[in-house]
Amino acid sequence: MLILTCPCCGVTGEETEFHAGGEAHIKRFGPGSDDEQFHSYMFAKENAKGVHFERWRHNNGCGKWFHAARCTTTLEVFGTYSAQTYEPPKEIKDKISARRPGWSWREFA
């Protein structure tokens, strides 16, 4: 059972306090988008082996959403950060580079 640190309230808690919310940094496509864009937004999800970015909610806690950068094979948590951002912050990316040189995930590396 994982432990995560909520960047909003600072609590380091066990997984039962949190709720996983799928892939992070997804851009919404609404009316006006074509079928391919909408399909990709709605259904095509990363299934990374290794570095992955996810959304989590501290539902049994402060109630806030946040992002987590994790390794899906070793379960290492590289860091958690604000949900109000379009990309992982530099310090998180640097930390991943130090631990997993040459990593990439979608458009990030």
Partner: protein, 189 residues
Amino acid sequence: MSKPVSALEGASYQGFAKVEEVGLRGMITIRGDLKSAGMKKAAAAATGLDVPGQREVKLDGDTALAWMSSDELLAMVPYAEVDDRIAAIDKALKGKHYLAVNVSDARAIFRLSGGNAREVIAKLSPVDMSSDAFGLGQIRRTRMAQVPAAFWVDETGAIMVVCFRSVAQYVFDLLKGAAENGNQVGYLN
């Protein structure tokens, strides 16, 4: 004259720790910019207390102001004074984007006292209840068995537990079971 009644009408249980439902308490959820001057004014107007820092609770007898999340506070005041305090908050934050709403009736509050009260919580919530990890002035929102709950330690060393009103009986039963005589663990001081 009829009067408002709390969920369990003051139920209590004495085990190795004492569990008491403490009756109705005024509670106001305040959402807004916690760092703003207006919020400082609103906090003072509602409770006479400073805006608490992350996961802090400011205490003054039965009045308290707790940090619930980065944009939310919980003010605890006498039940009968909630409308006045909300009016004071409204005044302090007039023109600002905020929310102040009465949640007094949506909650149940329990007081846990006795030397081993911390162990009662530690049986139900995945939280380090050792006194060096969780002390006076801190509030923790988490789950208690299968429901959300929040708790803090008051000046007397008692632990105050807040949960939703609809599950008051469930939470009371949980606390009661955990506090039964003979169920001491002897791990926490």
